[in-house]
Amino acid sequence: MSTTTTDVQSHGGHGDHEHNPYHQHHFTTMEQQFDTSKLGMWLFIVTEILLFGGLFVGFGLMQHQYPREFIEAHEHLKQVIGGHLMPLYGSVNTIVLLISSWTMVMGVNAAQTNQQKKTVRFLVLTIILACVFLVIKYVEYSHKFHDGLLPGIFYAHQSEDLIKGTHGYATFFAFYFMMTGLHGIHVIVGIVLLSWLAIRAKRGDFNSDYYTPIDLVGLYWHVVDMIWIYLFPLYYLIS
């Protein structure tokens, strides 16, 4: 996989199985190589689903144990807009991630159709949207830190309505920071991977014969989006 740019350009062209510089010798065809990589990626995705699945089960158990505390604590994830409590940050972040999923799939499509400039542009757009997501997350976390709405033993919120039954609130914020934090780490990993792809795409590594890395990182990015699709209603919309 460490082939240089010149090799790629000199060996471009359809059906050039034997000479494609990215064709590894232990695969019969480029198609077999692509399918194998993709199968491996899907197996990894299943482990991701089960990892977050375990955390969701823990969240469900604790919500069952502290139903009242969880509902009261989740109000602190909302902001007052026009006299109503609305999940402003959560909703905006949901929309940002959905759009970034679209720019990602458009980038994959551009790579599949040999549109190099478009590929780079969509990858950079995806990175920008991922950064917007993290900035909003940072603002959200800062408010929580300031209010002492911290996980577990660090919980230090002092207002009258939330000091009672501290254990339930502390548990809620432990799960909140654990799950959104782990999701945030996935977003950071995604940004690193997308930057690597953008550099390679700009160098001209990808074309309709070889776009495996973009496709696989695309799958990863959609999983990150999919996890947020479940995180959002469970944390921001429970009632």
Binding site: W42, G53, H84, V105, G165
Partner: protein
């Protein structure tokens, strides 16, 4: 993708992806709107149902499962199937126990124990408040 002459013949295009994006954004608005109404315990079910529709749309179109070889979809479905088994047994466990917190866990103030849905008579009484921490220490000194 049997030959490389048409490497993307089986894939969707920008039109399908854009339509999918608008469907996802629409469902996001629906789920936020649905949360502002009080349907009681159905709220969680509605929210999770909409989330599952959205996740399915992402998997089918953005992740190309519709056009892919079936083996990838089989793996994905297997993942969710086992997650379902996990959730199901977890649900059975929660609904058939009085208390599932460990005995040595420190007692906390005013935690509301959940009612035992299978057997209301066995529902745990409210937990006692923590005894004053100084009291046992004083007793030990007298010994």
């Amino acid at each position: 993708m049997s030959t490389h002459t048409e490497p993307h013949a089986h894939h969707g295009g920008p039109k399908i992806y854009t339509a999918n994006l608008f469907a996802l954004l629409f469902l996001t608005i629906v789920t936020i709107a649905a949360a502002s109404f009080n349907f009681g315990s159905a709220n969680v079910v509605i929210a999770l149902a909409i989330a599952s529709v959205k996740a399915t749309l992402v998997a089918l179109f953005f992740m190309h499962l519709v056009w892919d070889k079936p083996v990838n979809a089989i793996i994905a479905i297997a993942g969710f199937l086992f997650l379902g088994i996990f959730l199901m047994f977890d649900f059975l466990d929660v609904t058939s126990r009085v208390n599932y917190l460990p005995n040595n866990m420190p007692q906390m103030q005013n935690a509301t124990p959940a009612p035992d849905t299978m057997n209301p008579l066995r529902t745990a009484p409210p937990r006692p408040l923590d005894p004053a921490p100084a009291a046992p220490a004083v007793q030990e000194e007298h010994k």
